[in-house]
């Protein structure tokens, strides 16, 4: 018996050690980036040519009608596969008549592309081709959406992504097979391995494990109510991973700052902090239970964990009715994960009555309120005036009834405020905006601001990466 799986992130059928994983090996991200940026080339070129030419010239030269795109309502930006904060907010199209249409624009990181979100959920090439034409890039001056199909670029985008639709078969360091496919930014998208990857995995392996980014409030909620609904597949087990350190942080440990030494409480035994942090773990267990599944808690072992700390967690998880397993795969590889494997295979024998949190008939406002209260533990939801306006317009348009509800919330707290640790009560979830992803068919209610472009730190990792010119091996990646 083998446990195999897919992880979010990649492309073609090659057996490649996971150590090269960080250098874009599957090629999928490049394909997404190129297809996405081609759409932007189409958009900006069209705006330029429409500005420069009269209706008659346009018709004669190109056979095209005027789309009359509103430069103040361009929703889509460019993507690049780096944390390039300097490109977050840019001005493009400076220069002469032939140097583009001047406007404000933006770059996101490639994985935040709506195309990556689409890749994670498509059924097949025909579905991909169709969705690639339904992406809303901008609005015209009368407020109508301008799609990739309107720009006649969806076919060429699909050409760039024709190979990316195939999962890439990689392996772990111990040569267990792993399929890598899709890595959509959980900030605004589903944040899961692809449905295609899962389908392939389910046909090939005895057990299929699939990854779901972030915790039960973000990752599992989207897996549960969005991905399972889109795929029609249902899980037997859910593994909830925790660490002693994260529990200490939720229990009131001092702030951890990248680059500075780890505070002492994280390196020494501190049962009080662990205990205080258990409220967070128990909340996540409760969330998963609402789907009809009883989770397996996996304690991801660190060398600084003490036996008493582990015991406290195990006891609490078990008292809550969950299975719990210590896993030392970091230290011992697959052998270190045997306890977890046993717990998981045991759990697959449970009877599961999987049920969604809400039916598709439920309206957007009610869905958000339900998620806020039942999954995040909020007391209520407050819609900002602009979001309220958008909400009403979206609820009144039947087209959006079938769209998935894709919450945008920080993963650093159960609430919208990264500073609130543990399991906060009596707070109101503020919704500031609702994004429309019409290719992926997502409505994304945003609790707080969203940045689609992370930043590079003052002491960036690339300083330590190099190539051994004798062997061609990359060094310093980990």
């Amino acid at each position: 018996m083998n446990i195999k799986g897919t992880a979010a992130g990649g492309g073609n059928a090659l057996l490649i050690p996971m150590t090269e994983f960080s250098m874009g090996l599957t090629g999928d991200i490049n394909d997404v980036m190129n297809a996405h940026n081609l759409a932007m080339v189409a958009l900006t070129g069209r705006m330029q040519h429409e500005r420069n030419y009269s209706d008659e010239q346009l018709r004669r030269l190109t056979g095209m009608r005027r789309l009359d795109i509103d430069p103040c309502q361009v929703e889509m930006g460019w993507v690049i596969d780096f944390c390039a904060q300097a490109l977050r907010s840019v001005i493009i199209g400076m220069g002469a008549r032939s140097d583009g249409y001047m406007m404000q624009s933006k770059f996101g990181i490639a994985v935040s592309s709506e195309l990556m979100a689409i890749l994670a959920i498509v059924r097949d090439l025909a579905d991909l081709r169709k969705r690639l034409g339904e992406i809303t890039m901008a609005y015209d001056k009368r407020g109508n959406p301008i799609t990739t199909a309107d720009l006649e670029v969806a076919g060429a985008m699909c050409a760039w992504m024709r190979n990316a639709i195939n999962p890439t078969l990689c392996s772990t360091a111990e040569y267990q097979p792993v399929m890598v496919h899709a890595g959509p930014f959980a900030n605004i998208a589903v944040g899961q391995s692809s449905i295609i990857g899962d389908r392939v995995g389910l046909k090939l392996f005895d057990y299929h494990v699939t990854e779901s980014g972030f915790a039960a409030d973000i990752g599992f909620e989207k897996f549960w109510n969005v991905k399972c609904r889109l795929s029609g597949l249902q899980p037997h087990v859910s593994v909830l991973t925790t660490t002693i350190r994260s529990l200490k942080m939720h229990g009131g440990g001092s702030k951890v700052v990248a680059g500075l030494a780890l505070p002492e409480e994280y390196r020494r035994e501190n049962l009080k902090l662990v205990e205080a942090g258990l409220a967070n773990l128990l909340h996540h267990i409760g969330v998963i239970r609402k789907s009809g599944i009883n989770p397996v808690v996996c304690i991801n072992r660190f060398t600084t964990d003490t036996a008493d700390e582990i015991r406290v967690v195990r006891r609490a998880a078990e008292k809550a009715g969950a299975r719990c397993a210590l896993s030392d795969h970091w230290g011992k590889g697959g052998e270190g994960a045997l306890e977890l494997a046993d717990a998981v295979t045991d759990a697959t024998r449970d009877k599961v009555e999987f049920r969604y949190l809400y039916p598709m008939e439920m309206k957007l406002r009610d869905r958000v309120e339900l998620i806020a209260k039942e999954v995040y533990g909020a007391g209520g939801v407050a819609w900002a005036p602009e979001a309220e306006t958008k909400l009403r317009s979206l609820e009144s348009d039947a087209r959006y009834d079938e769209y998935s509800t894709m919450m945008v919330k920080t993963h650093l707290s159960l609430s919208h405020d990264p500073a609130l640790k543990g399991a906060p009560k009596n707070w109101i979830l503020p919704i500031r905006d609702v994004l429309v992803y019409s290719g992926a068919k997502f409505l994304c209610p945003c609790a707080g601001s969203i940045s689609l472009m992370p930043g590079t730190a003052s002491n960036p990792g690339f300083r330590r990466v190099d190539v051994d010119v004798q062997t061609g091996k990359v060094t310093g990646l980990f």
Copy 2:
């Protein structure tokens, strides 16, 4: 016996039909793009952090010293693999303290990257690693160059390019092997297939054919005086390709405008225009002769060519002492090229006394004058004041003596003025600037303005590209 070859443009060792050539198949362009943009991430991030932090904070957080980069002297831009004229001139870094350093910036097309130029000329991975650290990205406030090594990013750039250093083995539509490797923008770089590709080809095949972009004034001059000098290799034959249409255009035919119907003189027999255009062909034959090689003129047949038109060209070429062959590979594949193949193999038996146009000891000003007069047919060279200043500074620094002289000139005329057809006489070549590519070790004297980012036409090709969702085949590429 087989004629094999390398063409500018590509990556890894896969046998792929040339029909997919246009979709970035080798992956090399993506690698170049990512490695190049990573350098820009390093530069812009460093500028941001140096602006935000005091010397003391910088040292404590990162161990780095202040580079003090002058935002008004950043030479390098970003790259993207599309004709995105809207990105030619941009402003980046708008927003708050953590949103980058605000400055003017630019995007070029990926193949115009100095990294692609380097890829075409490197010897091996060690040479690549070294050159990737020597690229001048900007200048500090005292005027000293800031290199990729100063930014500690060269190792990570090399990691991104570790696979791109290997040529990709593709095939023609008739499954003849072709290596695809490197496609440096001949506008500012050498514009040839890679030296590594040539070395591999020379070991594998009976005959090795290598591509050299643009005509004898641009492509062959750089092949002759730069690439051969860097590789230490020497050609036996040079094929000079011409068409009846291009000769008509050089003979005074009316202007050809993309999108409009081809003027009649190009579709009907017109011996007068062909004869008038021969001056241009003869000039190119003469240029190649100066290297010690007698070229083979290849007439690339079009269906509208008439027997008399072809006879006129053949007679002129032969009168000038060159071999001449008609080739109908477009119409008949390899079989259509047999006459050319015979002429080329015949020519390989000639005794060649290959000699460079100038020795490396010659100073930059003299090299440019020699190229202008001997290769372009100019009467002289005029240096603009700014270029004159740069010239003097470069000539006085021994470091630049070993740099290649990489002319930047339009390929649409022997002169710098695209409107001057035929073989113009008595004109002065204006030099407006000299670019320094310190990783490739090129000095690029610029005759006219250079754009590193082409534009997308008003009726772009992507409109016609699509994917057959049943077969996965890309349609509309050709």
Copy 3:
């Protein structure tokens, strides 16, 4: 007996007909604009020179130390005396080393300058000179304020404003004397005629009338708690001007759109709308009463007003204990205002016990809550997270205890929402930010967004302005 007055807006001692009022006649606005923009020249020049020079060069060339201004924390923008919405958000400093420091910047309309706010409240030239050096233009990288004094530009600014400190004596169309002095944007400043103008008026005339922009919630509240406190002067009477049209609008009349025909209910008798709108008038009467003054309600007559409509208003005002007078100065000049004049002079004989709404000892948070509830009729105040942070920091710094509280709120509603007419109840006033005007010594809590630059309409008034070239008279101003 004469009623004289000052109106917000202007400069030197010249007798000028009010008809030329709109063309910047007093010169004060130009002086404010030039002094203000000079400060920006000083700031941007300093940033450029500090960027270009080392500490040592800076000291040698200029004797200046490095201020180390944070380009992301420049608070001040430029001003211009037009509604130039295209200048609201700009990027400046593009180009080479000598073309400024590149950053985002903004333009406001000249009257929105902090200098105009200062002009309205200064005591004398020495006070002006002192305050002109205390304006916060930006913050340095450690968060310390950079003032006009730090930039050594306050003296030169004062030189530009040395004449503007004198009120301009103008006249009405009937040659009654009017002093014009200062016109600070009530959006963020006190929005009143100058204190100097009032002081001069009180010495010259039997009765002195001073203008206070917007209604009792904005204009009177600032006159009452800020201007009177700063001047030490107290009013005898307060005139509350109303119109039948505005009451109809507050009573639920349909929306009035500039450029479109006035809806019928505003042109015909409609007692129901007038009655419904009285709640708003009565609220304003109540606010003024809280200061110890019983207001005189002035009905500013329109030709469409009917006798019954006027009777309804008069009855309601008188029932509320206020005097009420109909005034037809628009139709009949001074004679038309005699009833109002009688009511006002009568009111001056009332005994007034003038009292401020809050003592200076009251903390900012409490002041805002008191104003919101007592003056606007709100149920409470909600501080946004950023505003809350600023509030705490300001309350903890004793320096700000003496600052005036200068509310920023729309004048189109008693609430912050321009759509809420009448006298709304049970609403929460949201505070989004607190601006610090350290020259004027104002803390400005902002309820809603503030634009300091109005826009020019699609059918702008300048189209109708011209000059009669025979007489030199300006036409089309009114």
Copy 4:
């Protein structure tokens, strides 16, 4: 007998000491600035509204037709009355639909406005009104000029300038009357006091002296061939002012850098440098002679001048046939200028046969060549390709035959190269562009680049300006 005069720079009829001259006292610059910026408000507002509205909406809301302005061909920028180099190149109109039309723009210094050029040459208010409507602000997408009249803003601009058309009567420190009127930037405009001022002066005074900016190559050439032609007036005398220091500089003295100590040769007697510099003075004498006038050379005395140095200059000037006078007005006021006054009144008795350098019938190319050779001493003229194209188009349009030829050239050398001192020979004047000022009716051939916005130095003068708060006097201006 009195010598009176006008100086370039000012407004209304007030007697004001020259010491306040620098603070914009006449108000004319403010009027020019406001009228100019109003035009830009009209342009940018129109572009915004045309972008936002359909043809039908535009017609209904405003009754206006679509002008279809090309944002890449906006010629006019904004003005401000400071050396604000940070505003040289800007981006405006960022933000939402109502925040303007986004484009690149620029600011010049107020005196560089075409309105100031117009003010210097208009005949009367009717002429001003007419010209204010003829200014080309931009081009539409078909290449047709968009004027201030097209934008319906000329009337309102004229309203702002209705007072500026009157000269301001000021006085010298000795209370001699001086009219101040207009100060057009000689870089691109006529650079002279106004024609209206001259006309008034000629009626009021026995002798009228008018100022002409820069030397005989710039100031006098424009006075001679442009201003005199436009006014119909002819001078009796021309005063050519020189200093010992400037002659030393033209004779090869070392470079003078603002902020650093004056090199020794300028502070001590150095006859050799003076003699070497005389070539420049003699060239200027020769230029003036070509107009039919024999100039009076005025040596503007410095305290460091020696008697021998003065003698050398006087001898050379007289040998060339010119009158020469030493003037010590700096040291002794009017009394110090008596020798000059005598020389000038004596010269007025000469018979003058005033003749223009070229007739209006001469074509632009020939005019420029004549000026280059006869006035600057050039060997010829070279037109850049873009300028050549413009030249041909302008010469072929009869409308431009009546336009004045307004040369744009540095005043730091007789040539276009500021570093060439003395009287250089055998050089070619390069023409890079031709500006069209259709309100002033100027064609401005540009020899070299032109900046319409000077920069503020690293040690700016405003640091030393202040106000004495007791007296209101401005200090530190001189």
